[in-house]
């Protein structure tokens, strides 16, 4: 039996495409107002961002990164949020050793906005995510700390519309800094 050439190239091409989308990244549209003003600042213009999968291949994230994650309430839904609080020292947990340094460095302490407790210590393997548009965002203040395993990609740049071309900088609003990082908390 002879397989036509174009069928052959589809059979080979589709897996290559999926692998690239899986390992390197893809472009996605940002829906909703939860990340204003960083994303979708104008109500009529939707931003398209590049979601970098390679950057989170070993689950390394830092505070202030904008990341996309599977919603803990619905695994088919992707949400885009900013990381506010992290668990303890990730590099030590990766090497599977506990040193004195990390015993002192347990998870961040976050002052919540409307969560069931006023402050939360981020548990092991979790992070605290929030939308920039406080009060209009479905985030950790609603569903609590999320497991880092749910993070699928890091948003690295805005690719569309052209007027908004830019890299996304890691930035944490001063008033949302975890309490253990603000000066004077331990004094």
């Amino acid at each position: 039996m002879k397989v036509p050439n174009f069928v052959k190239s589809i059979i080979v091409g589709v897996p290559i495409g999926i692998t690239i989308l899986d390992t390197i990244g893809y472009v996605a549209r940002v829906d909703g107002i939860s990340m204003q003003p960083a994303l979708n600042p104008d109500r009529d213009v939707t931003d398209y961002v590049f979601l970098n999968r390679w950057a989170v291949r070993s689950h390394e994230v830092t505070r202030g990164d904008i990341i996309s994650l599977k919603s803990p309430k619905d695994p088919d839904q992707r949400i885009i949020k900013r990381i506010v609080g992290l668990e303890g020292n990730i590099s030590c947990i990766k090497s599977n050793r506990l040193c004195n340094h990390c015993l002192n460095l347990q998870g961040d302490i976050v002052a919540t906005i409307g969560y069931k407790t006023a402050i939360v210590r981020v548990p092991e393997g979790h992070c605290w995510v929030e939308g920039d548009h406080t009060g209009h965002s479905m985030d950790s203040n609603n569903f609590g700390p999320v497991s880092i395993g749910l993070v699928t990609a890091k948003a690295t740049c805005i690719v569309w519309p052209p007027s908004r071309w830019q890299n996304i900088k890691s930035y944490l609003p001063k008033k949302r800094k975890p309490l253990n990082l603000t000066s004077g908390y331990f004094s």
């Binding site: 080979v12 897996p15 390992t23 695994p75 092991e124 979790h126 497991s147 749910l150």
Partner: protein
Amino acid sequence: MQRLVSKFVDTAIIFVQYGCIAHCTLEYVADLVVCSGPSMEPTLYSNNVLLAEHISPQFDKLSRGDIIIAKCPTNANQYICKRVVGLPGDKIRTGFMSHIVPRGHVWLEGDNRGNSSDSRTYGPVPKGLIRSRAIFKIWPLADATYLKD
């Protein structure tokens, strides 16, 4: 020399193609998993090899009693192999406490209840962390079985 280079490029392309096909198969269809640790005894022991499929978790077709492989909620670089005990809405009793499994989560427990860290330690696990469902135990051969509840 030129023929050598073009031959080398051809082989490289074939490697990439097969690598991508393998990636898609292992990521979306099925893969093999080696168990370690005592938490699923007596169903599974350390160094047992399982065939795990990725299709039913993707279409949300899990049921109680399935053995699943998921990312550990407390350490994203580690995988756990547990049994689904509760689906969203189920009421689970652990000791004196009773929990209701929230939407989008499952309750996981190891078969070796005395030596397993599972949902009794870290609570319900989001479905997004589930990677695959174990269907066959294929190693050791003498003990090869279809895994059902």
